[in-house]
Symmetry: C2
Subunit: 415 residues, 2 copies
């Protein structure tokens, strides 16, 4: 048997009309790739039974496994159940177990169950109900002429739980994939994608030759540039060990100047952790970012034990009155260093970052894209300047990640 292929069908007229962007299929595609399952097509189709049927039949014809997403809700527009029954050539039967589970969910919420929710307890005869059921919409599995069709609701968190817990393990079993696949993401800032590829060229060549792991790059804007290592193996412990070894090799090549974190940890979390460990509080002085840096820091739960606040001094007068910036050009080394000092003083903070610059589109004093950034650690202020070749929003975002990374490096080196 060759490699198993799986395709995704997303059902919903609102997807075709562009009212909702279909991020479900993208997410499932990523999980399939990671699980080692080939995926060649993804289709969106509206809430029309004839067209849904055509699309499902074609998908079952050209792929081994089909995941259909959406159209499992309680309304008359939710047609996926009915169409699957038609494709299978069977009728819908009420599943008593499901009636109970759905009633219990509504009972648990202390409100009467709308009668059309019972539509969700109907199952094509011969189809299985997936055991994972986080909401009121059951997922389904049907085997049709040797191919497998899964149906999941369009609600992202319900869909993701079913795919992770029921569908992916099942598909990997069908694919005869006993191999364990794991990946680790190394998150970097300060080097371009081609620069990273150049630094890692020797290691990538070695892996191409000897196997063991594969490496991919992914540019993610304000989230940094990601290096993803993927390892296949026969046992959990073997894979984890190869993955750790490979991550260590790459870490030794790139160094902690470029690498700020692993997997889902953000740069903001890293900085909060570094401050917390060293018992330091953080203050900001923002001009062109307008509060963006503070907004990102405070998006992390628990940031309040480190973060004291931010002085968003947008006007020259605020810079002078609140932060004590002297009579110097707004976008200058002197201004940004005074801002960093002012942030520590005014916000009673041990460390700070400060930014001032010209985000455009029209320049007031300085050329558009010119930004000064400063950090203050242990009472010592360091500053640097950059000229971004970007638009307003990217100038603000790249400034944010760059200055936060500068602070990270100083905290890392702090005694």
């Amino acid at each position: 048997m060759g490699r198993l292929s799986c395709e995704v069908v997303a059902v919903g007229t609102e997807l075709l009309l562009g009212q909702i962007v279909d991020t479900n299929s993208s997410w499932i595609g990523e999980q399939l790739a990671l699980a080692g399952i080939d995926s060649y097509y993804q289709t969106k189709v509206g809430d029309n039974p004839t067209r849904i049927k055509k699309v499902l039949e074609q998908a079952l014809n050209r792929s081994d496994v089909v995941i259909v997403c959406g159209g499992l809700g309680p309304t008359q527009d939710d047609l996926t159940r009915d169409v699957i029954a038609e494709v299978m050539g069977v009728d819908l039967v009420t599943d008593d177990d499901l009636v109970e589970r759905i009633s219990a969910i509504f009972g648990g919420r202390n409100r009467p169950m709308p009668s059309n929710n019972l539509r969700q307890a109907q199952v094509p005869r011969g189809a299985e109900v997936l055991s994972t059921m986080p909401g009121t919409a059951p997922g389904l599995k049907a085997v049709i002429q040797g191919k497998t069709l899964y149906a999941v609701p369009g609600v992202p968190w319900e869909m993701k739980q079913m795919v992770n817990e029921d569908i992916l393990p099942d598909v990997r079993k069908q694919a005869g994939i006993t191999a364990i696949i794991q990946s680790k993401t190394i998150r970097t800032w300060g080097e371009s994608e081609s620069g990273l590829a150049e630094r890692l060229a020797g290691e990538i060549e070695r892996l191409d030759r000897e196997g063991g792991a594969t490496i991919a790059f992914l540019a993610s804007g304000i989230e940094g540039l990601k290096v993803r290592i993927t390892v296949k193996g026969d046992s959990e412990s073997e894979v984890a060990s190869i993955l750790d070894t490979e991550a260590a090799v790459i870490a030794s090549i790139l160094g902690d100047e470029l690498i700020f974190s692993y997997d889902d940890q953000t740069l903001e979390e890293v900085i909060l952790d570094l401050c917390r460990k060293q018992g330091l509080t953080l203050g900001l002085a923002e001009s062109l970012t307008g509060g963006l840096i503070g907004s990102r820091i405070t998006s992390i739960p628990g940031s309040s034990d480190v973060f004291n606040g931010s002085i968003v001094a947008y006007s020259g007068r605020s810079k002078k009155n609140i932060l004590g910036v002297p009579e110097v050009p707004t976008v200058s080394k002197e201004a940004v260093e005074a801002m960093a000092e002012g942030a520590c003083r005014v916000l009673n903070s041990d460390v700070s970052v400060a930014v001032t610059g010209e985000a455009g589109p029209n320049s007031l004093e300085e050329e558009v894209g010119r930004v000064w950034m400063a950090t203050s650690v242990g009472g010592v202020v360091e500053s640097s300047s950059v000229k971004w070749p970007f638009d307003r929003e990217r100038i603000r975002q790249f400034t944010t990640i760059t200055v936060l990374n500068a602070l990270r490096l100083r905290l890392l080196r702090a005694p």
Copy 2:
């Protein structure tokens, strides 16, 4: 002839792997709907010539018009041109005009043209080059067995310009749509989707009966709830007049308390405009939003002539020291009103907004979701409280739009 149908095919392995979410198809779908063109399917396919060919042939079989998006770049992975030639049964020929245009673009940028950019000058024999060409990738039009196939690059701004300027007018002509279609979006805050539907029920019924316009709702989170009016008619002036009349009817029902703007104008822009007209400067005092309100205000170019800054006072000490908040609970009427007064005073601002609350997930002093908001206009502070049933990020976002709308209402009523 029945109604014309058009489908979209997006080409790119990165779309299937979930590395990029396919927002192009969603955007095209929305434009087609608005232009009165039916759209039943959207397909994603990887960079594989056999599978691209199958998908294009099927699309041409079941729809009247096909727009294929992506795969027109200069690299060997860009296969759309080659596959279209194959579907047409012709060879690729070099278009001398295109060679000149592409060379001119590179000449204009003062750098040598990579030779593989000449791949982009190759056109399937018999296909037309679209006249709109904002980048180096030309768009194509081919008539295949009575059906029309358009090819556009995957770069969003290049794609959008070609679709708007060349493809939509052309498709509408083919569809025999001489009717003009225009829409207007009314942006609201302060009422749920079902609440809006209830308020507008009488008008929607009247329109269902008498025609003239259609109305649709679209929930857009921090961007508010949108009411879209769409009108078809025979002439620009007739349509514009019906649209204006209908917008006025809906505006009179909903009132300017709920309606904050029209079409693409954001709430932040409205507030900056109101302040600018009245010669007022704006300051903020933010706690749970951590800089989010300032970040959104300053994302608007030119905000610096109104916006003085924001005091992000996250710690109790910052609230006290900088803003002069007395010894009261952090999440309270007294605290938020002192913050609003402090923002005006410290930032030398005429008007201000202030927010303090518990964004969770763990509560410190108050129940999670409890938020106090205040506005100061003309030296008079008004405040109110709400308990959001949301997660951390939505609590921060709903707080932002709610307090900005409260400020808008006060500026609107100001003498």
